[in-house]
Structures are given as C-alpha cells and as structure tokens.
Amino acid sequence: MQHNWNFASVFAYWDVLLIGLWGTVYIFAITCVLGLGFGLVVGMMRYSKAWWISYPARVFVEVFRNTPVLVQIIWFFFALPVVTGVEVSAFTAAALGITLNTIAFSAEVFRGGIQSIEREQWEAGKAIGMNYAQTMRRIILYQALKRMLPPLTSRGIEVFKMSTLASVVAYSETLHQAKLIASYEFNPIEAYTVVAIMFFLVLLPLVQLTYVLERRFGKSD
C-alpha cells in the first residue's frame, strides 16, 4: 500500500497538540494523586481486622477493578446527570472513572505490600511501646512502599496512558486533539503516530525518575 507520509500536516497544529498534552498531564496528575492517596486508605481498610471496615473496601475494589474504565467514563458523563440531575463535565466524568479504577488497583497493591512485611516487624515496634498507628506509619509502610515501588510505577504508567480514554467524552487531552487534526487534514496515521511518540517521550524520563527513587529507598540494603 502506498502512503505519502506527511508529518508537516500534523506539526502545523503544534499549538492544538500542546493543549492536548497539557490536558493529558493535568488529568494524569489529578487522577494519579487522588488514586494513590485514596488507594492507600482503601488498602489499609482492606487490611483491617474489623469486617465493617474491610468489607465495604473489598466491595469497592471488586466493583471498580472489574468494570471497564471506558464504560464508567461514558456512564458518569451520560447517566449520572440523569440519575442525580447534576451536570457532569467531560473532565469530571473522565477523572472520576480513572481515579476510581486507580484507587481499586492501587488499594490491592498497598494491601499486598503491607501484608508482605513480616509479623516480626510489628512485634518489634510493639515491643518498644509503639501503638498500631505508629508502627504502621514508621515501620511497616516505609518498608512496604519500598517493595511496592515497581508495581506502583507500572500503575502510574498505566494511568498516564489511560488518560486517552477521556477522549471518548471529548475532553481535550492529546488523543482527542489529534483526532481533531486528523479530521481537518485527513492524516490519522501521522496524527496518531505523533501521539504515540509524544507519550513515549514524556513517560521515558518519568520512569527514570522512579529508578532514582528506588535507589534512594534501596540505600539500606
């Protein structure tokens, strides 16, 4: 098949793409921070011995881990206003879907990480008079975070790429902006190729940063 590659027709719209990139970074930052933060809370709830704390957390995790984010976003955008009578913006719908999914996934990572710390560490904290919260915060979480860094990193990458799902409700992130260009210029192949390259170029240095973090955590080995 013959194709005349014409990337200039994409780069002519660099300002449109830049808006998209900003939209991507913006929704990523918000969903990632909220997702990991509440994920930690839900993960600790999952770990609780009291059923009335752990059970709701478990239901939450299973619901949002086992439904497609794309469907959630569409549902929040179209159905939530019908149910609640409140208008939901494209950004809110998309951020909600991605955040809930991230909470559910990272909660499982946090729970697993906390569980992986030996019982002896709890006992050592207890033996010098620390209470549950002090031991969790000072002894357990720190060690668990170190073990969880790799899975959390891949989760972060996943969240960054998941932001493209927001294009389904026309939130102006990178993929959506590329679609616009493609529809003006009839150059979808070039436009989407540029999207892929942009994601790669942003993610690669971000991942390097996590290696630095891992080294910092690893200084006690």
């Binding site: 050592a124 033996a127 008079g129 620390m130 080995d221």
Partner: protein, 257 residues
C-alpha cells in the same frame, strides 16, 4: 521488697490449647532468672505474657507493684494505651533480632525514644550512643542492619531495648539463631548487664550461662513451673527426674565441677 515482676496464677490458652496452667513467679530487683524447658512447654508464651504481647487468659501481672489492666467482673481488661506504656517499662529481645532494616543502627536505637517517649532528637541520640557503647558497637552507629553480623545485630537489638530505660529485660532464645562463634559476644553482653544489676528473665538453652549468671532457674513443663531454685541446685541435683532427663538430653550440658 516489691518484686519487679510479680506473676500470680497466670493462665494462657490458645483456643482449646491451654499453654500456661497457673504460673506463679517473682523476679526481684537485680535478679537474673533463666527459664528452661522442652520445646512447647510455654517458655515464650510466659515471656510474652510479661510484656503483654499475649494477653493472659487469667491471672495477674504486676510490674514494680503496678497491676497491669483493670479488673471488671472478675476478668482483667487491657487497654492498648496502657499496654504500650507498659512495654516501655519491660524491654524484649527476640531470637531473630527484628531490627528495623530501613533505619541505621543509631536510628534503630533512637526510634522508640523519640516516637514513644517523646525525647528530643539530641537527647535520644546521646542516649543511643551511650547504649551502643555499652554493647560495644558505637562505631557501627551509621551502618544499616544489613551490614552487621548476627551477633552485632543482636547487640543492637539489646541496645534498642535498653534505650527505653526498662525496669526489666526479657530475652527469648536470643542466641539460638546465631552461628556458634557469635554466641559468645551476645552472652557476654547479657552477663555484663546482669552484673550491672539489670533485672532480667531469659529463655535460653545455654546451660553454662544459666549456671554462671542466673540467680534462679525455673523449669517449665506443660505450662507449669515444675521446679525452681538456685542454678547449682536445679542444674546439678534436681528433684524431678524430668529435669535430669532434660539436662542429660542436652548436648550443651557441660558444667564445671
């Protein structure tokens, strides 16, 4: 004189399994008590009931006269905050050291002082260095546990417990996980503590240590103290055949005449 540890009619069950069946024991100021007994006789459980890592099913524990827990309807009730405070008064050292791997030696020894006792960083640091030099490890202060030998780790664990200024120290087979050539340095540290007048309760299979250091040896059997007394008596001419069988079966049993 009030005993540092006073145990009365202590019972502990795990489900249907009754592990401790009525223990009475007094540990006086400056005494070193060694608990002997075969595997499963309840030695660890007894130690863990003294600092309430396990809550007794029945009975009373007093530390320097203070009753632990409050009595309600004939049963003892324990609050988390009370037990945390109690554990600062009763130090414990474990078989597997259980140092905090993400903290340096110094930070390990400072942690409880700062977080639990609320001491200032400077005070905690100077206290920690004092305890580290007491166990001969002040030069290891900036090292992480992963870089220490087993014997050094155990001595740091002892320093960590001592830094809380406990009224009594509990040792649960603290040399059992060590290579034979490292056992000596830890026993020496414990002996030195005993000579400095630290009140301690030790579970150990080091009969030589019991003989030379302990003021009192208790032999546990099926959750009861079968025999107790001076080491010279218990270790050389026990009344119970069970104790003599236990001592004969012990490969490390070698006493000077």
């Amino acid at each position: 004189m009030t005993p540092v540890v006073e145990i009365r009619n202590l019972h502990k069950s795990f489900g249907d399994l009754e592990v401790l069946r009525g223990i009475d024991l007094d540990v006086m100021q400056g005494e070193a008590v060694v608990l002997l007994g075969s595997s499963g006789s309840g030695k660890s459980t007894l130690l863990r009931c003294i600092n309430f890592m396990e809550e007794p099913t029945d009975g009373r524990v007093r530390i320097n006269g203070d009753l632990v827990g409050t009595e309600r309807g004939g049963r003892m009730q324990y609050r988390e905050a009370e037990l945390c405070r109690l554990r600062t008064r009763v130090g414990m050292v474990f078989q597997h050291f259980n140092l905090f791997p993400h903290m340096t030696t110094l930070e390990n020894v400072m942690e409880g002082q700062v977080i639990v006792l609320g001491r200032s960083k400077e005070e905690a640091k100077s206290k920690a260095m004092q305890q580290l030099s007491r166990v001969g490890l002040e030069d290891k202060a900036p090292e992480y546990p992963a870089r220490l030998s087993g014997g050094q780790k155990q001595r740091v664990a002892i320093a960590r417990a001592l830094a809380m200024d406990p009224e009594v120290m509990l040792f649960d087979e603290v040399t059992s996980a060590l290579d034979p050539e490292l056992v000596g340095e830890v026993l020496k540290t414990m002996r030195q503590l005993a000579e400095e007048g630290m009140t301690m309760v030790c579970v150990t299979h080091e009969i030589g240590f019991a003989y030379h250091v302990a003021n009192k040896v208790c032999f546990l059997h099926e959750g009861r103290i079968l025999e107790q007394g001076e080491p010279q008596k218990i270790l050389k001419s026990p009344d119970s055949t069970r104790v003599s069988e236990f001592l004969e079966g012990h490969s490390l049993f070698k006493l000077p005449d």
